[in-house]
Amino acid sequence: MPLTTPFHPRLEPLNQTGIWKHWSGYLVAPQYQYSQTAEYYAIRNAVALLDTSPLFKYRFRGPGAGTLLERALARDVGACAPGRAQYTCWCDERGFVLQDGVVMQVEPGEYLLTAAEPALRHFRRVAREAGIADVSIDDVSRQFGILALQGPHAHDVIRQLTEAATPLRYFGVTPAEIAGCPVTISRTGFTGDLGYEVWVRADDALTLWDALMEAGRGHNITPIGTTALKMARVEAGLLLMGVDFHMSRFAWVDAQRETPLELGWSWMFRKLDQDGRDFVGRAAIESELEQGTSRWTTVGLAVDWHEYERVHAEAGIVAPLHEVYGESTMSIYRRGGKEWDYAGYASSFLTSSLLKKPIAIAKLPPDLAEPGSEVDLEVTVIRRPHNVLARVERPPFFDPPRKTAAMEGSVAR
């Protein structure tokens, strides 16, 4: 039997579709209403509420917590001051990515970290092997629920419940109290939009849910499932583990592994020469940077709408543009002389309702990865493969100013 999240008693009656799926062993709704697009637009137009509790959650405490994370995480956690959060990743010794996640320094010397897969034993082993003893690492996955409140009205909603969220900058973190319950609020999310994530003790989960839903009522707050989130994250250019990259630990061969540089995360290492950290994977990443040995570059691809229309029109059908979200590999070919000249692959595909064109997250060899480069993406039209023109774009595809803008203390309207 799957587990249920602490919010489940509220979610269960809201699911009009009756469709549930499993996320890390928990029951979650891929969608609550029949229209995934309506849920998607709650993120871009109003405010969406999403249960992300199935994430694995770890707490690092003690004098050695910072030291351990500097060793274990590939991005320098030293830049993550108290009250700040960071998107980060951790690697194996060969510089291949194990996982990504968000780390927050919630109190001086106390960190919370999310992960898509179990990592307790991993971090304890890193601590042990580095001789860092004065740190306690706890799996707090079941102690907390997490709600993501995302969308242009997210601040309008949360400010009714607490003043603590208003001053938060992008990736800021603060303790707060909502409806009498202690919570941790971060200005983070996986949608590329304005939004907050709220950690709450499992026992208080329903109180938090009710408070947010009530505060959001006049703002068309909409519970959303994981599919709407995934649609939004493609527009935001955010990678999904198990889809756009894979955990090195359980790969069979290196062809199934990726390095942070290959995933487009070189920005995490911009100040590498100024930081002397001896983190796991450093030597390999340095060597990859110096010698340019990356096999792939992760890029955004925008499919040429006119060609996409044309290949379907020529087959006598209407081009599928509605709620097409795909996680299966699509092949990419070089354009030019040779037919079907394999170049790389798309790992996530979305017919973006907002952008009015299909977009993808893809791996291309570095020589094809410059923005504006043209490639052929293979799509299936009535069971036959066709190539359509696609152009490399630098993600995010959608990046509204409100995502990072300062929030005013006053009500928006």
């Binding site: 209403q33 709408w305 952008l355």
Partner: protein, 534 residues
């Protein structure tokens, strides 16, 4: 005062087609001036904050037929285009019954099957053949139609191409297309359905904005026209632009300016300036003139040919056709500010039922009776209403917790037999409100504010003759070869350098943007031909 040589092109009227046309012209490098009589752009495609915090789509209220290539050609996404799906259709009866259709085909089947199992299956059949007909028509919707009177080789070739295209259609698609052109909506619906509520749901598309009832022959084509659009490629579906349809025309205005075009509001055009059959500019209402060799009218055909210029300077047959061109507006808008969303008995608290069109008009007879009033020269005593509580989709349309409701109301004939619209405006408002009250008891208590827009208001405010929302009826005699007149269906006029690009040209109204785009293609093609021959 004359400003000479500043502009290559002047577009008259900043409705959505004027905006689209100006954007294409500006994009091509022409120094383009778009002139708008009112204080805001958008024409009948506007959103106004008539009460603090309450935003009304004064006239047009949804989007479907907007041509997708315009979105891409003009980079509209970059300028803020955002169309959200209208996911539900709610068709209440007067007996407590209702149809609530949503985004899932099978759920819709079962909902319809509550009324008739066979109708539920027939609906899927009908929907599919309508989609195939629309797809078949679409290429000709998106290109300039041939001139049926011309012996020009290009037109003869296009006519031959059209004939062979129609001959090449699948037999069932072609038969259905012919049926739409020759039958009433009711006749077609009788072939598919037995349930009145189901029939009424479909029939409403056949009468929108037109002087016809569901049993009038014209209603077949009007129905098909309203299905020609799509939402993200889903044929026949409709959407709501962020901020209302005025949000959409603001996007277009940003595109015009991004391409280097100039927009002037409060700049009504008094007349076209022309000498020796060549356009040379316009004279504004304030007496100033602006010179340009290219002038495009985005106004309706009556204004384009008989107000902006002297009809005596036009061929007699064209003047006669424009004179006979039917406007005869039949629709009004009543927009409400509401304290809460209305309640439907049995579905209390379900705000989601309003996230789409709510059709008040539960039977063919109901709609026909409403039309009978129209024929008698009065507004319907029990009108057909197409409502949408738009703030259930876009929270920025109203203050938190409050709502705005757009109600499209029929029939409201432009010509009243025994009264006038100044007298009848609030009577119509009362009738509409009482009708809503019949379906949603307690509705009137929710009303904070009401705005009634009659056909006379539409004409006075945005210049659409007789308040016709499509800039002329969507009847076969006024479409394709004949829009707005045989021989003048290709955006040119008898005056060289003077073009037409409003909804009174092919393909027609409904916020397609196609007239604006196709006219721009025609204009740029003509200019290229002149340059290459020079």
């Amino acid at each position: 005062m004359t400003s000479a040589g500043t502009y290559d092109a002047i577009v008259v009227g900043a409705g959505h087609n004027g905006l689209v046309n100006a954007a294409y012209l500006a994009k091509s490098g022409l120094r383009t001036l778009l002139l708008e009589r009112r204080h805001l752009v958008g024409g009948a495609t506007i959103t106004e904050e008539l009460l603090p915090g309450f935003h009304f789509t004064t006239f047009s209220y949804a989007i479907s037929l907007l041509r997708p290539d315009i979105v891409h050609d003009l980079d509209l996404v970059k300028h803020g285009l955002m169309v959200m799906p209208l996911i539900n259709t709610f068709q209440p009866g007067l007996d407590g019954e209702y149809l609530l259709l949503g985004a899932d085909d099978h759920a819709n089947y079962h909902e319809m099957a509550r009324h008739s199992v066979e109708d539920a299956e027939a609906a899927r059949e009908l929907d599919h053949i309508v989609k195939r007909v629309c797809r078949a028509v679409r290429p000709w919707f998106d290109r300039m139609p041939p001139n049926s009177l011309s012996s020009d080789p290009a037109d003869l070739a296009a006519m031959a191409e059209l004939r062979s295209y129609v001959d090449g259609l699948d037999a069932d698609v072609r038969a259905m297309l012919e049926k739409f052109a020759s039958s009433s909506a009711a006749e077609i619906l009788d072939e598919y359905f037995e349930n009145e509520l189901v029939k009424a749901l479909y029939a409403s598309s056949g009468i929108i904005g037109s002087m016809c009832g569901p049993r009038s022959r014209e209603s077949g084509l009007v129905w098909l026209f309203h299905k020609m659009g799509d939402y993200d490629g889903v044929p026949g579906s409709w959407g709501f632009h962020k901020g209302g349809n005025g949000g959409f025309t603001q996007v277009l205005a940003r595109a015009v300016e991004a391409f280097g075009g100039t927009i002037r509001t409060n700049a009504g055009v008094h007349r076209l300036l022309y000498d020796d059959g060549r356009a040379s500019g316009v004279e504004l209402e304030d007496g100033t003139t602006v010179r340009a060799d290219l002038v495009v009218s985005a106004l309706d055909p009556r204004q384009t040919f008989t107000r902006l210029m002297e009809p005596d300077d036009l061929p007699k047959d064209l003047v006669r056709h424009i004179h006979d061109f039917k406007f005869q507006g039949t629709a009004a808008k009543v927009n409400f500010a509401l304290d809460r969303a209305p309640n439907f008995p049995g579905l209390e608290g379900r705000e989601d039922i309003f996230r789409g069109f709510t059709n008040l008009g539960p039977s063919i007879d109901y709609l026909e009776e409403a039309f009978a009033d129209c024929r008698a020269g009065r507004f319907s005593r029990r009108p057909f209403l197409d409502c949408c509580v738009q703030s259930t989709i876009d929270p920025d349309m109203s203050p938190a917790g409050k709502h705005v409701m757009s109600c499209f109301a029929m029939y409201a004939p432009y010509h009243l037999a025994e009264s006038d619209w100044e007298t009848e405006r609030e009577n119509l408002g009362d009738t509409v409100q009482e009708t809503i009250e019949e379906f949603f008891p307690g509705f009137s208590e929710l009303v904070l504010h009401r705005e009634v827009v009659t056909p006379a208001d539409i004409e006075r405010l945005v210049g659409l003759s007789e308040g016709n929302i499509f800039a002329g009826e969507l009847f076969e005699s006024q479409l394709f070869f004949n829009r707005p007149a045989p021989g003048w269906n290709q955006y040119r006029t008898p005056i060289e350098g003077y073009y037409q690009c409003g909804s009174g040209t092919h393909p027609g109204g409904c916020v397609t943007g196609a007239p604006g785009k196709l006219a721009a293609q025609r204009i740029l093609g003509d200019r290229a031909a002149v340059e290459s021959s020079a």
